[in-house]
Symmetry: C2
Subunit: 290 residues, 2 copies
C-alpha cells in the first residue's frame, strides 16, 4: 500500500470515529460534567487507537460500523488517561493538544470526575456493542480492561511516577506499559470482536501494537527534544525531570531503534492485515514530524 | 423473615463476597499499585452493593456463585468512588473506615491511580462473568455503567462539589445520584443477569434501591450529627460545610422520612424477592446505629 493510499484509509477510519463521537456528544450540554467530558474528547488527536481496532476488525471480516461503539469506548479510555496524567499530582501539565488542560478549565475535582466519567462511559459503550456475537464483546472487553488496568497502562503510569527507568530496556518496558498496552488492547480487541481466537494471529497483533507503541514513544521523546510548543501543542521538555530515550540512546540511537521496531511491526502486520494498511501506518507513524 | 434470619442471610452473602475478594487479592503484592488497591478493598465495609446483587439474582433463580464475578466488580466500583471522594481536591477526608485514607498512605497520585485501577479491574471482572448467558452480562454491564457514570453516581459527586442542595428535595436528588444509583445498578443488574426483562420487576428493583439509598444517606447524616469518630471510623462532621438532611428536616423529620422510605422499599421488595430478605434488610439498614 502506498503512503497516499494509507493516508486516505487513515482519514476515512478517523472520520468514522469523529462522526461517532459527534453523535455521542452532540446533545445539549446540560451539566458541567458533560461539558468537561466533551471538552477533552473534542480537542482533536489522531484517533489512532480506535482506527487500529477498526482496521484490524475489518481485515478479519467484521465491518468497522459493526464494532464502532467498542472503538469509541477505546478512545474515551485514552482521553481519560490523558486528563488524569495532566493533573497536578501527576505530570502537572497545563497544556494538552494546544488547549489548556482539563484541570486548568474545570478545576482539579472537575478534571478528576471528567476522567472517571469518561472511563465509565467507555465501558458502557463497550457493553452496548451489538454488531457482533455477545461472547466476542465479552472476550474483547475483558482483554481491553486488562490492558488498560493494573497490569497494563495504569501500572505504567504508576512506575513512571517513580522514574524507575535507569536504562533503555527499563524505559522500553515503561513505554510498553504506558503506550503499548492500549494499542495492544485496541488491536487484539479488533481480532476478538471479529471472532478470531487463533493464537498466532493474536500474538502478531500484540507484537505489531507493542512495536508501534515503543517506536511512537521514542519519536515523541525525539520531537520533544527538538520541537517548539506551537508545533507540539504542549510545553516542550515538560518531562525534563524524567529520563528520556534521547538521554539514553542519543538521537542516532533513537532513529535506529525506531527503524528496527518499525520493521518488526511491519512484518507482524502481514498476519493480521493482508491489505498492507497496518504496515504502511507503522511506517507513517515512525516518520511523523509532530 | 425475622431479623435474625435476615442477619444470617446477610452474613452468608457477605462472606461469599469476602471470600471472592480474598481470592482476587491473595497473590503476592508485587507492585505498590496492587498494594494500594488491596489496602482500600480490605478495609472492611458492609459489602451492601454486591450482597444486594446476589440476593436479587438468587431470588430470580440464578445462584449467587454464577454471578459472583460481576458482584465483586460492583464492590470494586464502590471502593474506587470512596478513594476518589476522599482526595484533597474532593472531600479531603483523612480517615476512612477507621484507617488513613488512600492518599494519606500512597500519596495523591497513588490514590488517583488506585481508584483508576479498581475501576478498570471492576469492568474486567464484569466482562469475565461466565455463569449466565453473555447477553445477560452485556445488558447488566451497560445498565450498571450508566448508573455509575455521568448520569448517575459521578453526576452526584459533581453536583455535590457545588453544594447545590438548598432544600430537602434537592438533597434527596443528590442522594439518589450519589448513593441510590449504585444500589440501583446492583439491584437491576441482579435481575438482568438472571435474564429478567419484565419492566414491572425492574421498576420495583429501582424503587427499592433508591428508597433504601436515600434512607441510608439520611441515617448517615443523623449518625454524623450525634456520633463519635471511634464509632463511625471517620471524622464526625467532616461534611460540616455542606447542608445535611439534619439541617433541612431536623432529627424528627429525618426519622419520619426514613420510616416512609423504608415502607416504600419494603413494599417494592415484594415483587423482586418473595423470600422477604430484601424487605427485612431495608428495615435493618434503617435502624442501624453505625
Amino acid at each position: 500500500m502506498t503512503g497516499t493510499e494509507c493516508g486516505e484509509r487513515l482519514a476515512a477510519l478517523a472520520r468514522l470515529v469523529e462522526d461517532g463521537l459527534d453523535r455521542l456528544f452532540r446533545e445539549p450540554c446540560d451539566t458541567r460534567l458533560f461539558e468537561s467530558m466533551r471538552y477533552s474528547l473534542t480537542a482533536g488527536g489522531k484517533r489512532l487507537r480506535p482506527v487500529l481496532l477498526l482496521a484490524v476488525s475489518d481485515a478479519a471480516g467484521t465491518a468497522p460500523e459493526a464494532v464502532l461503539d467498542f472503538a469509541l469506548g477505546v478512545e474515551l479510555i485514552h482521553t481519560y488517561s490523558l486528563i488524569h496524567d495532566d493533573l497536578p499530582c501527576m505530570d502537572d501539565d497545563e497544556l494538552r493538544r494546544g488547549r489548556p488542560s482539563s484541570h486548568m478549565v474545570f478545576g482539579e475535582a472537575g478534571a478528576l470526575l471528567a476522567g472517571d466519567a469518561l472511563l465509565n462511559a467507555a465501558f458502557e459503550l463497550m457493553f452496548s456493542c451489538r454488531g457482533t456475537a455477545p461472547e466476542n464483546v465479552l472476550a474483547a472487553g475483558a482483554y481491553f480492561a486488562r490492558c488498560s488496568g493494573r497490569e497494563g497502562m495504569i501500572l505504567g503510569q504508576s512506575l513512571d511516577l517513580a522514574d524507575a527507568a535507569a536504562d533503555a530496556a527499563a524505559r522500553e518496558r515503561l513505554s510498553r506499559l504506558k503506550t503499548g498496552c492500549l494499542l495492544e488492547g485496541a488491536c487484539v480487541s479488533g481480532l476478538l470482536l471479529a471472532g478470531v481466537r487463533d493464537e498466532a494471529r493474536l500474538d502478531a497483533a500484540r507484537i505489531y501494537a507493542q512495536s508501534v507503541g515503543v517506536a511512537f514513544q521514542i519519536r515523541d521523546d525525539l520531537l520533544d527534544a527538538v520541537s517548539t510548543p506551537e508545533v507540539l501543542g504542549k510545553p516542550v521538555g515538560s518531562d525534563k525531570d524524567k529520563t528520556t530515550f534521547v538521554d539514553l540512546l542519543g538521537p542516532d540511537g533513537c532513529e535506529a531503534r525506531i527503524g528496527a521496531l518499525t520493521d518488526r511491526a511491519a512484518a507482524a502486520a502481514e498476519l493480521v492485515d493482508p491489505s498492507g494498511f497496518l504496515a504502511a501506518l507503522a511506517r507513517r507513524l515512525a516518520e511523523r514530524t509532530f
